[in-house]
Structures are given as C-alpha cells and as structure tokens.
C-alpha cells in the first residue's frame, strides 16, 4: 500500500492562512446560528451539524479549485460552504423556501451549488460515493483537469458501495479524492461495534489500492498541506487518493443539542476534543505568530456575523414554494 507524504517545506501564504481561519469561523457561526434558532420549528428538516469538524471542510474546500467537483453526505453544510456554496441559498433550503438551493425539495441533507462545483449531498449513507466516482469518470472522459472530491464518514466505510466504488476508481485511475472524516461515531454507535477494533481505515483503503494518507482533522494547516499534495498528485494523473482525518462532532448526531448526557459517549471524551477546537487552536497560532491582530479577528467575526444575519433574514423573508409545484420535475421534459 502506498502512503503519501505531505510536503513539509510547503509554506502557506499568509493570505491563505487568514482564509482558512475565516472559513472555519464562518462555518462555525452559521451552524451555531442554526442551532440557536432550530427550536423555533421553522427549519423543519433533519439537520446534521459539523460544529467541531470545521477544519477539514475549510482546508479541503480551499485546496480544491472552484471547478472541481465535490459531493457529500447528510452532514454537508460545512462541505458545501467550504467549497464555496451560496450561503443564502443553503439557509433558505433548510427553511424550505423557494429560494433554497434545491428550491425546497431537499432540505438540509440535499445541498447543491453547481456554480461552485458542489454537485449534491444525499441522505442515504454511502450512496453519494459512486456518484462522486462517476463525476471523476466524466472528467476523465471529457479530458478536463477537474477532480472529484467525495466526502464520507467512518460509517459510510461500512457500506459495500464504498469498497466497490474505490475498487473501480483504482482500476481506472480516476481523478477522485476520497475524503473520510473519522469522527468515531455513526449516530450513537462507536467504531468498535461496527468495525474491527484494530482497524485503521486508511490502511483498509490502501489495501483496496488507493494511495492514502491520514492526519489530525483538527489541525487545519496540516489538513490543507496533506490535501493539497493529494490533489496535486491526482491532477498529475496518479489516480485516486484517500485521506482520513480524525475529528469530532460536538453536538448530537442530528439536531442542535449537546447530548453527552444520554450515555453513548462521555463528557470527558467530548471535553478533550473541545480543548482541541480547530478554530481556537488556529486563531491562537495566527495571533501568537503575529499574522493577525485581535482587531483583525474581531473584524472577521463581525463581517461573518453580518453576512449570516443577512442570510437568515433572506431565508425567512423568502416565500415557500407553491404546493402546486410539487408535481413538477418528476421527469425532465
């Protein structure tokens, strides 16, 4: 199995560093706001938050080109925003409005922004994986330089379709990046009841034939560096790559609350991860390195807050689609 190594010398430009922090803060703020207002009962669809996992989505999004493809899962907000998906259209979609990115048809679990290369997210575990591989096949057939990034979780690894999709991607050397966020849980189920205790997911992926690497999903710079190297390799025609990043979901699997009290995981485990908040870690790093001042951070925060408030106002002030529209788009005419 071939391991791929990040390029340590690669220095990240200061501008990019600020973008990394900005993306993470923006995603966090959006999701905190969703959490805060979810109880109002106006966002009436199952909603899976990525709070705590922002580093991967931000770094991967910034490593990809806008015209690269990305496809995701039920937990797609961060991936969508990281890839450059339209914020207002996402919030409107969660509110079920006509201005939503899927015109209200799909809700939180069905995000799309074709102008940003975000082709879609689905609500069936694993079933967007082959879609992403198919996008990679299309890029190869069209002879473009695009790559296809497939976001998946540690649970999706258990679906046979992951294995089948990865095998085909290797056989055809397709430009596909499999991006696995291992947050150690599938709903309330820890890895040990689902996969062999001593398994390393990236090693399994390597045995299928993918070139693999793994890293700390809460260290945004290392995610950025590892991912950039992988993407470069793919673009240079070295075939599909698999990246596993360890990270942690702070809140309940689906919904806005904390649920460390209900017993499937411990408060201590949560606090250990919270202590490694990818955003705080990075913010402190940039501050101490003198790359940003507290003022810069405050401005960043303020601009984000303003943009997010606007997005929610946009959503809430948007109309619902007409009930009569529900019969449309069964077939493309």
């Amino acid at each position: 199995m071939s391991e791929l190594r990040p390029n340590p010398s690669a220095q990240i430009a200061p501008g990019r560093q600020r973008e990394l922090l900005f993306q993470m803060k923006r995603i966090r703020h959006v999701e905190e706001k969703i959490a805060a207002r979810y109880h109002e009962g106006k966002m009436r669809c199952p909603t899976h938050l990525s709070i705590g996992q922002e580093a991967v989505a931000s770094a991967v999004g910034l490593s990809l080109r806008r015209d690269d493809f990305a496809i995701s899962t039920h937990r797609a907000h961060a991936h969508y925003l990281g890839k450059g998906g339209n914020l207002q259209a996402m919030i409107a979609e969660i509110y079920g409005r006509a201005t939503g990115c899927s015109r209200g048809r799909g809700g939180s679990m069905h995000l799309i922004d074709l102008s940003a290369g975000f082709v879609g997210s689905t609500a069936i575990v694993g079933n967007s994986i082959p879609i992403g591989v198919g996008l990679g096949l299309s890029a190869k057939l069209h002879g473009t330089e695009q790559i296809s990034c497939v976001f998946l979780g540690d649970g999706a690894i258990e679906e046979g379709v992951f294995y089948e999709s990865a095998n085909f991607a290797v056989v055809k050397r397709l430009p596909v990046l499999f991006l696995c966020e291992n947050n150690f849980y599938s709903v309330y189920s820890p890895l040990r009841v689902r996969q062999p205790v001593n398994r390393k997911i990236h090693e399994l992926a390597g045995a299928i034939g993918l070139t693999v690497a793994h890293g700390d999903g809460n260290n945004v710079e290392s995610v950025y560096q590892i991912t950039s190297v992988a993407i470069e390799r793919i673009r240079n025609g070295n075939g599909p790559q698999f990246l596993e990043y360890a990270t942690y979901r702070w809140r309940e699997h689906c919904g806005p609350n904390y649920d460390n009290d209900i017993g499937y995981r411990s408060e201590t485990e949560f606090l250990e991860w919270k202590a490694r908040d990818p955003i705080l870690l990075y913010e402190n790093l940039l501050l101490s390195a003198g790359l940003m001042s507290c003022g810069d951070v405050a401005d960043m925060q303020a601009s984000i807050a303003a943009e997010v408030d606007e997005a929610f106002e946009f959503a809430e002030s948007s109309p619902f689609p007409e009930a009569s529209e529900a019969v449309l788009n069964v077939y493309k005419l």
Binding site: G96, A98, G107, E158, Y188, S189
Partner: protein, 348 residues
C-alpha cells in the same frame, strides 16, 4: 399502551418465550432504542441476542437469512424503509425464494421491521412506502398494522411465522394508543379486520390510512352515511375473501393506500374487485393514494400532499352523490399538516 410500546412488549415476550429469537439493526441498543421499541431488550437478553450492526444493510440481511436457515429467528429493523433498498438482492433472490428453490427443505423465518417516514422534512428518501414492491414478490409476507393491539399480535405472528415477513410501521402510528392484551396472542397474518361495519360503501385501507378513514367514517356517520372499513392489516397475502365479501355487501369500493398511486396495492385491489365482483359493483371503484412524485422536503410543498380524511369525505360525496361539508372536519385539526400530533417534534 402505544403502538411502539406494543411492539416493544411483543419483542420482549417473543425473546423471553424463545431463545432463538434475536434482534439487531442500527441503533437497537442505543439511547433512543428505535423510538423506544427495543427498550430494555439488551439488558434483559444480552449482547449476543441484541446488537447494533455496521451500516451494511445488504450483508446484514443475508446474515439474517443464513442464521434463519439454521433455526434462528432474527428480527431486523431499519429506521427508514428507504435504507432497505440496499438489500433487495438478499430479500428477493434469497429470502423470498429459498424455501421454493430448494424444494421446500428449509424456510427463512426472518422479520424485517420497516419504518415509514412522512412529513416534517423527511423528504424524498426518508418517506417511501414500497409495500407494492414486496407484495409483487412471491414468497414474502407483508404486514401493515394500524392499531397497537394488531401491532403486538402481528409482531408475534411475524416472528414465529416460518416465512420472511416485512413488518411496516408508519411513523405517524407510533404514538397512537390503544388497549393491548397481555401475554402471547397472535393476530393471524393474511386476515383483514372489519374496523367499522357499514352498508353504503366499502373503504379498504392499510396502516396510517386507516386512521384517516376512521375520522372520515365517524364524521360521515353523523350525516347518516354508513361506510364499512376494512383494515387490511396484511397486504401479502391479502385477504381477498374479506374484501370481496364487503364489496358484495355494499356494492361500492374506495381503496386508500400509503404508497404512490401508479402500481399501488390499491390498484391491485381495484383490479381484483373489478374482475371478481363485477356483478356486485353498483358503480366505478375509486382509489386514493400518494401522488406519483417523490415527497418534497419543504413545509410549503407538503401542504395538501397527503390524502386526509377530508379527501376521503370528498370522494365519498362524489360516489354517493352527497355533499357533506368538509370544513368542520378540517377545522377540528389542531396541528400543522406535516406532523401527526404534538408528540412529533422531529427530526425523525
């Protein structure tokens, strides 16, 4: 006792009565215990008989079949029927045919619980009611209870049936309460229940649509219209004798279905009744089912999507040439159109 509690009781009773009954599925032993339906099972019967599983619906179905071939009685659960689509090869090519294709030497006593989502943003892939698929496959049994009493009695019958049984649970029924007998009683698979006796018209329904029918019928009764309501309870094998007997009595048929209209079980009922009760029919049979498109997620778009009691009344009006007002019925409703009641606060 609620529908979901009745299922929990049935599982407890079955596992206590027979050590060969096992129960698994995503989340059976987690804090939510499949909406409470598997509560207490692991503590009482241990981790060998009650366990969580990998997200591997296809293999886990085949594993249930294999275990069943050697005397185990697995009860598997999917929090949404939609996830079970991954296992159609195991269901159709193995479970449904094993007894037949090996000359009747071994059968496959598995029970697969399929929960149907609806409303509150469940959307296109968390809301499908594909019982028509399963009733089209010889060798499968499909039960769709409405009441808590039938839920327990049919769950026990399903678990101890020697054949593969698909046990449908409409999410909107989970909190519906009813009297449930103690202990082991079996509601026979393949027998419908006359839920309301009536003269003028026969309404055939299953699962949650029975609830809407009851609202409509009791309301119509106040206006002197007497409808007979047949709760199919099982859609495969379907209780044709009961359907035909009722239609021969009333001469009129209205079928309700929780699935998409075209190719629905409701359509098969209309077809058989047309072919077998031709001379008894006083007028053209009718069908009310879900429209032929996916369920959208938006609150705005699901308005008017689901056939409700008022739609039943409207159709009965047409069939009997009456015009009972539907407003009183509609205005009774206290909660938004996308939830079954205040108890449902999402997400699933």
């Amino acid at each position: 006792m609620t529908f979901v509690q009745a299922i929990n009781e049935a599982l407890h009773d079955a596992m206590a009565a027979d050590p060969k009954v096992i129960c698994y599925g995503l989340g059976v032993d987690d804090p939510k215990a499949i909406f409470g339906s598997t509560k207490g099972l692991k503590d009482r019967f241990g981790p060998d008989r009650v366990f969580d599983m990998p997200t591997s619906e296809n293999a886990m179905t085949g594993i249930a079949i294999g275990a069943a071939l050697n005397g185990i009685r697995p009860v598997m659960v999917h929090q949404r029927l939609d996830f079970f689509l991954l296992a159609m090869d195991q269901l159709v090519n193995n479970a449904a045919k094993w007894h037949y294709m090996f000359g009747g030497q071994r059968s496959v006593p598995i029970t697969i619980r399929l929960i149907l989502g609806r409303g509150w943003g469940q959307g296109p892939t968390h809301s499908q009611s594909l019982h028509a698929w399963f009733s089209h496959v010889p060798g499968l049994k499909v039960v769709m209870p409405t009441t808590a009493e039938d839920a327990k009695g049919l769950m026990l019958s399903s678990i101890f049936d020697p054949n593969p049984v698909l046990f449908f649970e409409h999410r909107w029924l989970h909190e519906i309460a009813g009297l449930v007998p103690d202990g082991d009683y079996r509601v026979p698979i393949g027998k419908a229940r006359i839920s309301r006796e009536g003269r003028d018209l026969t309404i055939v329904a299953m699962s949650y649509m029975v609830v809407e029918a009851i609202h409509a019928i009791d309301y119509l009764a106040q206006h002197g219209i007497s409808c007979e309501l047949l709760d199919l309870r099982t859609v495969a094998p379907l209780d044709w004798d009961a359907v035909f007997a009722s239609v021969r009595k009333t001469g009129r048929l209205l079928v309700l279905d929780t699935g998409a209209t075209t190719g629905s079980v409701g359509g098969e009922v209309v077809a058989r009744v047309a072919m077998d009760c031709w001379d008894s029919l006083k007028q053209v049979p009718q069908r009310i089912a879900m429209p032929d498109h996916p369920e959208p997620t938006s609150f705005g778009m699901t308005r008017g999507l689901y056939p409700r009691s008022e739609d039943i009344v409207t159709t009965v009006n047409k069939m009997l040439g009456m015009n009972v007002a539907i407003e009183p019925l509609v205005s009774q409703r206290r909660h938004p159109h996308d939830v079954p009641g205040d108890w449902f606060r999402g997400p699933f």
